[in-house]
Amino acid sequence: MADPMRIRAALAGDETTVRVLMAHIMEPGTRRDAAGALIPAHFIQDVDASHNGKSVLKAMWTGAVSQNPFLSFKFKGAAKGDKVVVKWVDNKRDTRTDEATIA
């Protein structure tokens, strides 16, 4: 099973900044191992962040996003104590959902 994400969400003024770290290998599928065999692709394809059930960001990724991906974005309309939920799905249909409380 995938390791948890670290999500930090902080409200400043009327804007919430969300910073997410995801534990993922992000193997692009183009690299070869020592024996010359292609290493199969394994990367996060879809990311969906939501607040109170409403999507605040969707992303589509490739193996060109770095290993253990970092994502930062900002949105309006949240209050301290609200939850931000982040979900990712990779190309092997493995998925992980974590949440953080806005500070």
Partner: protein, 151 residues
């Protein structure tokens, strides 16, 4: 060099005009690209997949380092000051599959995202945004250097 630059600027101007006339834009109002777009091999094809030719805009900013010590992790951020920015694309021109990431920005979310991407070599980073259904871009070059021992 000079003449190249002048014609380049001229081309930009012409394109900006075409875009403002709505002649070269696509009108996919909502729309994420399809997954196949991420496997195209050239910048041109990536732009086609996104929906056409963007106009250079000083309202779009790509933040990436001038020099990256390691191509495996290069911080890249894109911001757009254009109203109604709904999509952001990060294209790494020299990567084997240039389109690296796409972001869909709903109302209420700032057109301001940051992530980290891989670069196989020194390259232009092209940010394309869709605002009011039209495409705009900004470009920044990042040099990738060798690091320590063993390189």
């Amino acid at each position: 060099m000079k003449s190249t630059r002048r014609s380049a600027l001229k081309a930009t101007g012409a394109f900006a005009t075409l875009v403002s006339l709505g002649l070269v834009t696509q009108s996919q109002a909502q729309a994420a690209v399809d997954r196949a777009s991420f496997s195209v091999k050239t910048l041109d094809d990536a732009l086609k997949a996104i929906g056409g030719t963007p106009a250079n805009s000083d309202q779009v900013t790509v933040v990436s380092p001038d020099i990256a010590e390691n191509g495996a992790v290069v911080p890249v951020g894109v911001t757009s000051k254009l109203p109604n920015t709904t999509e952001i694309y990060i294209i790494i021109e020299k990567n084997p599959t240039p389109l690296a990431a796409a972001f869909m920005i709903p109302a209420g979310t700032a057109a301001d995202v940051q992530t980290r991407v891989k670069m196989g070599q020194s390259t232009n980073v092209v940010a394309v945004v869709k605002a009011d259904g039209k495409l705009f871009s900004a470009t920044k070059e990042t040099k990738v250097t060798l690091g320590g021992c063993g390189g």
